[in-house]
Symmetry: C2
Subunit: 229 residues, 2 copies
DNA sequence: CGCTGCTTTGATTCGTATCAATAGCAGTGG
DNA sequence: CCACTGCTATTGATACGAATCAAAGCAGCG
């Protein structure tokens, strides 16, 4: 059982809008779970018995070919929702990119609860529609953009999602990526070498700064947007 | 006003499950609209005042870069749903690939109706979740697969969707694509030349037959699946 | 200090895009 | 029925970008 009223993502997650009794009921269904960076919560193709809210940390959704090539098909941040309600097996695996904390529900129980709470279901629908738009936008990047455009687009999106308060990619914006070069490559459909070369080049051109392996500073947002296409 | 009870997609569209009075109400809100092949229903970035069910024909969802490169990010078949309920502007344009017939609703009215009908909203959620899975699966193709793998995967998916009764890519399966080479290229994130070369090669290898420009015959499903990766 | 794993840099290869020309098909009018 | 036109698809030659292969650099950590 979790104390939903004290939950730090309470106002941003799908739980927002539930009244205290409903929240208490949901709270009894859920349990807090910590997961270490690198560990996998759900495997592609497996029956997925749980859904969850992300309280802290960043997770990735990964699809893979039979010969082991990987593509990251989604990123999950705090207050985002994980899993496939009313569904069967997971279409991709879910792993933690950083240490993370989740609020996990048994899927059947959650489905039942959702069926009784149309407003929750609507919030789920809105989120899913947003995710779909985001995924489709990413398809344009994967299918049609060059390596430099991909990396620039990636930095802009990360600046939006990771700068505190979503101030976005303004001049001087600084943020730490929760993952390394290989993961960036897996997000962009590139190799680690190409990704590294593009970042190095952008630093050489003065567009961005790379104060440490995982930190990014945006020096020239206009040039970055230009480059993103 | 439309006669929903006589509608040929009535049992497969989101309307399925509504009782006759509800159906009559929805019918009064909707209007039938024909749209010619090549015409565009919604433009990327525009305020999207309508949602719709597809009754007949195939439409595409297209995202484009500022310099005009295009990526098809979704295909819409009969009984599928178009548009962004509870949303603002369209994230991509929607155009007809063949002559099509739609059942169009004013978005605000539809949203209102949906809010009062949780079961309809749930069917919408299920559809959206399926679409999201499909989109993410396509991201793997766009980001990580070679040209030959892309074309093979495409043929398998089209066989599933286009053979009558969804018999799929069995040996001898035959179907007509509702679009030409350029569109295939836009779906796969390739050029028309590469697409054409791959198809020609597959025909030369005896894997498939190409009896006419738009027709495909699957000769060797196993080899095709092998090639799709 | 010397591992170990991640990242950068370099040299080369390979796949797909691009550029260019030809071929095939569908529709139109003589 | 056949020549003409416009469009779509195929085929060929070449260029370019990103992958691959290989090695060196760099940080964190026992």
């Amino acid at each position: 059982m979790s104390d939903c009223l004290a939950c730090i993502i309470r106002n941003r997650a799908i739980c927002a809008g539930l009244n205290p009794p409903e929240l208490a009921l949901l709270g009894r269904m859920g349990r807090r779970q910590r997961i270490k960076a690198g560990h996998t919560l759900l495997w592609e193709g497996d029956e997925a018995p749980v859904v969850a809210n992300v309280i802290e940390g960043v997770l990735k959704l990964v699809a893979a070919t039979s010969d082991g090539r990987e593509q990251i098909v989604g990123l999950v941040f705090p207050s985002d929702f994980i899993g496939r309600p009313f569904g069967g097996e997971s279409a991709y695996s879910v792993s933690a990119m950083s240490d993370a904390e989740l609020c996990v529900f048994n899927r059947d129980l959650f489905d039942e609860f959702a069926a009784d709470h149309p407003d929750l279901q609507q919030r789920l629908l809105l989120r899913t529609l947003d995710e779909l738009d985001r995924a489709r936008h990413w398809m344009l990047l994967l299918g049609r953009k060059s390596a430099s455009e991909k990396v620039a687009s990636f930095l802009i999106e990360m600046a939006d999602r990771l700068t505190d308060g979503g101030r976005g990619a303004g001049a001087g914006a600084r943020f730490a990526l929760p993952f390394g070069r290989q993961q960036i490559a897996d997000i962009l459909g590139l190799t680690i070498e190409t990704t590294s070369r593009q970042l190095t080049k952008m630093r050489a051109d003065g567009m961005i700064g790379l104060p440490s392996r995982r930190e990014i500073v945006i020096n020239d947002p206009a040039a970055l947007h230009e480059m993103a296409g």
